[in-house]
Amino acid sequence: MCALSEETVVKMYKVMTQLNSMDRIMYESQRQGRISFYMTNFGEEGTQIGSAAALSSEDLIFGQYREAGTLLWRGFSLDQFMNQCYGNCEDLGKGRQMPVCYGSKGLSFVTISSPLGTQMPQASGAAYAFKRQKNGLCVICYFGEGTSSEGDAHAALNFAATLECPVIFFCRNNGYAISTPSREQYKGDGVAGRGPAYGIHTIRVDGNDVFAIYNATKAARDICVSENKPVLLEAMTYRLGHHSTSDDSTAYRSIDEVRYWDERDSPIARLRYYLVSKGWWDDAKEKVWKEQNEKEVLQASARAEKKLKPNWTELFKDLYHDMPQHLSLARKFW
């Protein structure tokens, strides 16, 4: 059934569960006032790790904000995640943005920004450049079903199709855009239903089946790279957690609904059953891994919390390539 090695599949499981641990601890950190804000990935670990595993490490990722798993897969360290959340002196983003706005040049992950959907036409443009550069790479652009309503989403799909850009548009259809359920987001056949209208190869996938995501993403990548055409992939999943630490989803959905999805369709549980059935995992390994995981995350969090914030002069830097006179004067007379 699965052509992936034990090593790869175990790595998938480990990254998914590590993401889960990091999320639980960082969510608590916000509740305790240690960091200002956080967004979890509960329920979507399969979409993130499955797709990341199918890409080349240099394929460019344009994310929305719920794709930390793709960075974790590529090797972004716990320290680097925490540094950004704490906005400390080692944050690659230099303390300028809210938590979870990760970015990494070395791991080909474009820094997250808050406006929704803006990354989509950018992904089309970047893919066009890759096509011209003939570098054999593709671009992947993650977005939620809510974001698919933005004008930029329409622009991105139409540009990618007409200009033939090697980009995978990966829709995480997780059922909610904050409190807005998908039935209030669109009336047609989800996001996938729109793909053919643009002339784009489209597939809808079980987002909680990490292997289905892996296979679909791999096939999408092959189309992109060999045909220089975009692909639209709609991953059907479920947002188990709240939208963010500023949200309490019990205000708009029942705990029963959440429990149903967690018990019946958890991507982590599904992968664990598979691992156990292959004899690649067991309760003893689970116990050891869980403890190691939590310990590593807690230690990374403690390290990040202790570090100082960046120098205040960083407020004025990196706006332009060279600091203009009016800013250096402002900094001097602050």
Binding site: L60, F62, D91, L92, G93, K94, R96, Q97, C101, G103, S104, K105, V110, T111, S113, P115, T118, M120, P121, Q122, A123, S124, G125, A126, A127, Y128, A129, F130, R132, Q133, G151, D152, H154, A155, A156, N158, F159, T162, L163, K317, D318, L319, Y320, H321, D322, P324, Q325, H326
Partner: protein, 373 residues
């Protein structure tokens, strides 16, 4: 006929120098004449020149950019056949469809696509067909392009993006073919905004804009595309981006403008010399963001009298920023309140354009106020 003239005379309450009076009784047919007189300059560069108008100068700059930078691409609505203002004529034939191409009709897409291209290190030269239609791209330009480098801690940037767009009055453009949107974007740290006044300036500034490591909005005064003709150097040359130009000198009054308005102000300076015996510094800001405060401050400290003129509406137009900065830095040097002569606080009208624009009569009237204060 007689009663018509009588009623016009009765309507007038002010002195014969008033803009309304002069306009009503002047002879030139409004639909044909421009409100300014383009005076060609000579380039301060050795070497061969060719007679070019502004769209030809822009075309020449794009040609050079495409020739020298293999990563450069030019895109936007209708650029393939040459563009509605002919700025991209001949480029697709020369450089191919993968480098010069039409996009679908979507300004937010054009801007976003350009940002994406630029983040990979490719030189992205986008065209927005009219500055009046740049607003759908506002989010991409201000929330994304302007902030890309800053928010990523300098990991990512889109400095290789240039967005060109025609702006300003053209005689009959009305609400949606005449706007000057520079003020909206001037409020967005991280952008560069450049406005050329002539073909020589346009070519050099555009090449600088394309090559500078910051995203640039390059606004071209569309009325100058055909009417401004100069001997433009054929070589590859660049002009400095953040420096204002002093295009005329005088000790009595400072006149500040950009784009088409510079030519109006040059004429106003001549009128002031002739009718009031007053000599003016005429400053072309060239760059709206960042803007050259030193050149303006030095001039106002010398003259004590400042007029800023722009076609965009008065309230919160870029003149407001210049006025606020000048009163702060040059307060004790001021001999009169700063004058702003601008479009009125209304949309840009069609048949009323001659009354709307800050023409030489309204500007001259303001100079008069400044010297008589």
């Amino acid at each position: 006929m007689k009663s018509k003239i009588m009623s016009k005379l009765l309507m007038l309450k002010s002195n014969p120098c008033s803009p309304m009076f002069i306009r009503l009784f002047s002879k030139s047919p409004q639909c044909m004449a421009t409100h300014f007189k383009f005076q060609p300059e000579t380039a301060h560069l050795d070497g061969e020149t060719a007679k070019m108008n502004l769209f030809q100068a822009v075309n020449n700059a794009l040609d050079i950019a495409l020739a020298k930078d293999p990563s450069a691409v030019v895109f936007g609505e209708d650029v393939s056949f040459g563009g509605v203002f002919r700025c991209t004529i001949g480029l697709q034939e020369k450089y191919g469809k993968d480098r010069v191409f039409n996009t679908p009709l979507c300004e937010q897409g054009i801007a976003g696509f350009g940002i994406g291209l630029a983040t990979t290190g490719a030189t992205a030269i986008a065209e927005i067909q009219f500055g009046d239609y740049i607003l759908p791209a506002f989010d991409q330009i201000c929330n994304e392009a302007a902030k890309f480098r800053y928010r990523s801690g300098n990991l990512w940037e889109c400095g290789k993006l240039t967005i060109r767009s025609p702006i300003s009055a053209v005689g009959h453009g009305a609400l949606y073919h005449s706007q000057s949107p520079e003020a909206f974007f001037s409020h967005c740290p991280g952008l560069r905004i450049v406005i050329p006044r002539s073909p020589i300036k346009a070519k050099g500034l555009l090449l600088s804009s394309i090559r500078t490591a910051d995203p640039v909005l390059f606004f071209e005064p569309k009325v100058l595309y055909r009417s401004a003709v100069e001997e433009v150097p054929v070589q590859d040359y660049m002009l400095p981006l953040s420096k204002a130009d002093i295009v005329a000198e005088g000790d009595d009054v400072t006149l500040v403008g950009w784009g088409t308005q510079v030519h109006v102000l040059k004429e106003v300076a001549e009128m002031a010399q002739e009718k009031l015996g007053v000599k003016c510094d005429v400053i072309d800001l060239v760059s709206i963001l960042p803007w050259d405060k030193d050149t303006v401050f030095n001039s106002v400290k010398k003259t004590g009298r400042l007029l800023i003129a722009h076609e965009a509406p008065l309230t919160s137009g870029f003149g407001a920023e210049v006025a606020a900065a000048v009163q702060e830095a040059c307060f004790l040097s001021l001999e009169a309140p700063i004058q702003r002569v601008c479009g009125f606080d209304t949309p840009f009208p069609h048949v009323f354009e001659p009354f709307y624009i800050p023409d030489k009569w309204r500007c001259f009237d303001a100079v008069n106020k400044l010297v008589r204060f």
